[in-house]
């Protein structure tokens, strides 16, 4: 079983990706980032640091943000997986996506999907986070372009819009 046996033993896993069923053959050593990339459906999942530190490979597994580069794909069997590709309703962007656009909360955009998904989990748990809470919550997501102030602003704006919508 050991050694550089790339062929490896395959097992079939089934999960839902943005609401659609997916069935894939995966190997024990493959990470969720590896296999999501193979689906060709989610350009938003990007491995960068490979150590769970930068957040560019963030996906939601059963509603919780995880680093897909540190998550064994086989353990996603049966899970509900969400990425930014599944957030918009038709032409209408999710309010958090829209807030990122409105606030110019990205430059190169490579980290953006991870920022949005982590922000999404935050807003689900806390619809009115202050600046400090946002910074703390997103502390594991890195942006080398340094769009941090705009990202905080975008999440604040999405929270405000969300509350206004809820209030009306």
């Amino acid at each position: 079983m050991s050694g550089p046996n790339g062929a490896g033993a395959f097992r079939t896993i089934r999960f839902r990706l943005n609401g659609r069923p997916v069935e894939m053959a995966v190997r024990a050593f493959e990470t969720l980032a590896d296999v999501l990339r193979r689906t060709g459906q989610v350009g938003s999942v990007r491995e960068s640091c490979g150590q769970g530190l930068c957040g560019t490979c963030t996906v939601l597994v059963d509603g919780l943000a995880i680093s897909s580069c540190l998550y064994l794909a086989a353990l996603a069997d049966g899970a509900e997986i969400q990425t930014v590709e599944g957030l918009a309703s038709g032409e209408k962007l999710h309010p958090l996506q829209q807030a990122f656009v409105d606030c110019g909360a990205f430059q190169c955009g490579f980290c953006t999907p991870g920022m949005i998904l982590t922000g999404l989990q935050l807003l689900r748990e806390n619809p009115d986070p202050d600046e400090e809470e946002i910074r703390r919550y997103l502390s594991g997501n890195l942006c080398r372009c340094g769009a941090y102030p705009e990202i905080v602003r975008a999440i604040r704006q999405a929270a405000r819009n969300g509350r206004e919508e809820a209030g009306t």
Binding site: G3, L53, L142
Partner: protein, 786 residues
């Protein structure tokens, strides 16, 4: 004579904060990066790297790797020779082999590549390639490497002669000094003798890494029997085409280079990085080859120069700097990459934005056995400003003068000649300083605290010359339905060039920026551009796009003049139509139908921009036209020093910059602030740590870059607009400006807070605490440590 304008004064496409054109794609995961590109039959390459800092390859055994199931081939330097007879590349010197041939020159130097369909197989097999080295003495420090008798990293240095500005480079042997630059103005020694005081300091900077979150990635695949397509995350597609063609001995029209959005670049993804290697592997294997580097490998590919800067200033009692001597040593690492340009183009600004009659600059780049160094957001300027603005503050304090006032006395004004002899044309040096002082409320007292936490503030200001001479070409096309595309070789790596170029074309053609399509670089389609670097694109490509759009506009006006029986000079473009003075109009589509009899045809406009340039005198470094435009960046920092731990918290960071004319003010602000945060990381935390040449912290776990928790509570940009007479709508480049002055501003603020002077980056807590202890604790104004 240009004057200051107010930000956002004009209403139109220029000065409008258009959301990036690709916004929707970037928030929904559909933005295209080379990272995702895949083609059928593709092999993945994994690089085997040198484990020694300097050595000769005695034995290279690939049999173990080749025997692994799933391994397609293992490529070595000897194999590369079959497709590239002389496989040495580089923008300044042809010193870097595609794969090591006889010698390795740093820990991480590529030695072989394992190709497999499964990247996991390639990675596992790479560990089975056996290499034996005869180790040679290695050298890592720039000063030691320059001494006679130091181990030679390269026995012979061969110039590349590719770029016009580097044509003067000469071959050398018997030294690690790859290139030197000298500036002579006035009589420095005589002025030192006359000066009331002479101050001398030595400052050092560390090796740092760019670390775009999208690591280097390149895919080469054959297109037919005699063509090669290279998809690559590069900032310089035109250079990649010509250099790969040169290596293969092919005409350029057989190599097609394509890019997409870059997940960050910062100067890392310039010139040749993986492209020649991927091309060679692809041709040898006869199959597409993709090479994707890991985060760790980014540290081994290109980095920022460590420097040693000895600076000496002669000053009069009333605060005039009368002489300055600068000796700058750039640690070039194992391969020169673009170091010679940094040595010259940044070197000649080493005396700062000051009006000094007598200046001497000596700037040297030295080979060592470190990972190669090149351009990193600022092109060497942040290292220089760190030194000369710390030094300037030291002088001000010694003279008992306010640091802002001392700079006021000495700063160059708009129009005055710089130390090189080139005038500061339309350059807002004083205006930036005053804007900074105002934003920092410099005239109001600051509460500095008295206990464990001490506060202080500091400012710094730096000057950069945009690289010259360089060319940008652009094509603007108008299709049969009246829609418009810009074909430009500028790479959007996050700086917002697609949006800015669309705004320039839209402004010229009477359209909304959102209606303009910007086609990403594809050397089969987009015309030549020198590269996306050094904050040059908006100025150069902006001018080329503007010219090209004007040509299209003039063709539209000519068609409309015939159709409307009007004088073309009285017609204007607005809202996608041409309007006559009487109010009649024809849409662009109607004009095309009028011209071609149906919705058909293409109007093409082309633009080329090559600003004037005068080569500096080889002896004195003097030139009347050394740069197309000067960039001015100032930074103000308020810090809080924890005197128990030495930890510095930046409470406020103000970035003031001469932006010429902000084409897109929101993006300009993000650029300035983002650049300042990157430089803040390199000021306080980032440092590649080497042990026997091996980078021991080559990961984001051990090499920390700024995260949310490291961002100052207040980060603000102050845009100073002094339109440049040759800039498109007055614009200047700003991609790097936010980096210039951050390190010195922070160091100056620390001095203001606790009275100790740090002379080596990064300013780590341990380094600062040690300096505090040596100085006798916080509050001591005598402390000059570090």
């Amino acid at each position: 004579m240009a004057t200051l304008t107010q930000v956002g004064q004009q209403v139109g496409q220029v000065g409008r904060s258009v959301p990036r054109l690709e916004s929707r794609a970037k928030v929904s995961g559909s933005a295209e990066y080379v990272y995702h590109v895949a083609v059928p039959g593709m092999l993945h390459g994994k690089i085997v790297r040198s484990s020694v800092a300097h050595g000769r390859i005695r034995r290279l055994d690939t049999s173990g790797a080749r025997a692994q199931p799933g391994v397609y081939a293992v490529i070595t330097g000897q194999d590369v020779l079959r497709v590239m007879p002389d496989p040495h590349y580089g923008p300044a010197f042809h010193d870097q082999p595609v794969l090591a041939l006889d010698k390795v020159r740093f820990v991480g130097d590529p030695v072989a590549v394992v190709l497999a369909e499964d990247p996991h197989v390639a990675e596992e097999a790479a560990a089975l390639v056996e290499v034996e080295y005869e180790e040679l003495p290695a050298v890592f420090d720039e000063l030691e490497a320059a001494r006679p008798g130091a181990p030679l990293v390269h026995e012979v240095i061969r110039p590349a002669t590719t770029f016009a500005d580097l044509k003067h480079l000469a071959g050398r042997s018997g030294t690690n000094v790859a290139m030197e630059y000298h500036l002579r103005r006035g009589d420095v020694e005589e002025a030192f003798a006359r000066a009331d005081y002479v101050f001398e300091d030595v400052f050092r900077t560390q090796q740092t890494a760019h670390l775009p979150l999208e690591p280097f990635v390149c895919l080469a695949h054959p297109e037919g029997p005699d063509r090669l397509v290279i998809y690559t995350a590069t900032q310089s597609p035109s250079f990649v085409r010509s250099e790969v063609a040169r290596l293969l001995g092919w005409p350029e029209n057989r190599v097609r280079v394509r890019t997409a959005f870059l997940g960050g670049g910062f100067g890392a993804k310039l010139y040749i990085k993986l492209e020649a290697l991927a091309a060679a592997c692809c041709l040898l294997a006869g199959r597409p080859v993709k090479i994707t580097l890991s985060m760790e490998e980014q540290f081994l590919t290109i980095t920022r120069h460590p420097t040693t800067f000895r600076i000496r200033s002669g000053v009069t009692r009333d605060g005039r700097i009368v002489a300055r001597a600068c000796e700058v040593w750039w640690n070039g690492g194992a391969y020169a990459d673009i170091s010679p340009r940094v040595t010259q183009k940044s070197g000649f600004t080493a005396s700062g934005p000051y009006d000094i009659e007598n200046v001497r600059i000596d700037s040297y780049v030295v080979y060592t056995n470190r990972p190669p160094t090149g351009a990193l957001r600022g092109f060497g300027i942040p290292q220089l400003v760190w030194a000369y603005e710390s030094h300037t503050d030291i002088i001000a304090h010694r003279l008992g003068m306010d640091p802002v006032e001392f700079r006021r006395i000495n700063l160059l004004s708009n129009g005055q000649p710089h130390a090189t002899g080139t005038p500061l044309t339309d350059t807002a040096t004083r205006e930036v300083l005053e804007a900074l002082a105002k934003a920092m409320e410099w005239d109001k007292p600051l509460e500095r605290g008295s206990g464990r936490y001490r506060r202080g503030r500091g400012i710094a200001i730096g000057l950069k010359a945009c690289v010259a001479p360089t060319t940008s070409c652009a094509t603007v096309v108008l299709y049969g339905d009246g829609s418009v595309a810009v074909l430009a070789g500028t790479v959007d790596m996050g700086q917002g060039s697609d949006t800015a170029l669309a705004q320039i074309a839209a402004e010229t053609l009477g359209l909304q920026a959102e209606q303009v399509r910007v086609v990403h670089p594809d050397t089969d389609v987009t015309p030549y551009d020198m590269a996306t670097l050094g904050s040059r694109s908006l100025f150069h490509m902006g001018n080329a796009v503007k010219q090209a759009a004007e040509q299209v506009r003039d063709q539209l006006l000519a068609i409309a003049a015939r159709a409307l029986e009007a004088d073309a000079e009285q017609l204007v473009v607005r809202d996608g139509a041409v309007w006559a003075p009487g109010g009649q109009s024809l849409s662009f589509k109607e004009l095309m139908v009028h011209r071609f009899g149906m919705q058909a045809g293409t109007l093409v406009g082309t633009g080329t921009y090559l600003p004037p340039y005068a080569k500096p005198d080889p002896e004195t470094g003097q030139s009347e036209e050394i740069t197309p435009f000067w960039m001015v960046g100032g930074c103000g920092a308020e810090v809080e020093v924890d005197t128990y731990t030495g930890r510095v918290r930046v409470l406020r960071l103000v970035n003031a910059a001469d932006v010429g004319r902000a084409i897109n003010p929101a993006i300009v602000r993000t650029q300035l602030n983002g650049a300042s945060l990157m430089q803040l990381g390199m000021t306080l935390m980032e440092e590649m740590v080497l042990e026997q040449g091996q980078v021991v912290n080559a990961s984001l776990a051990a090499y920390k870059i700024p995260g949310f928790g490291d961002v100052p509570p207040v980060v603000e940009a102050v845009l100073v607009e002094m339109p440049h007479r040759h800039g498109p709508f007055g614009a200047k480049g700003v991609g790097e400006t936010g980096t210039f002055a951050v390190s010195a501003a922070v160091a100056n603020a620390i001095y203001d807070a606790v009275g100790v002077r740090i002379r080596e980056l990064p300013i780590t807590p341990e380094r600062l605490l040690a300096a505090l202890r040596r100085s006798g604790g916080a509050g001591s104004q005598e402390g000059e440590e570090g």
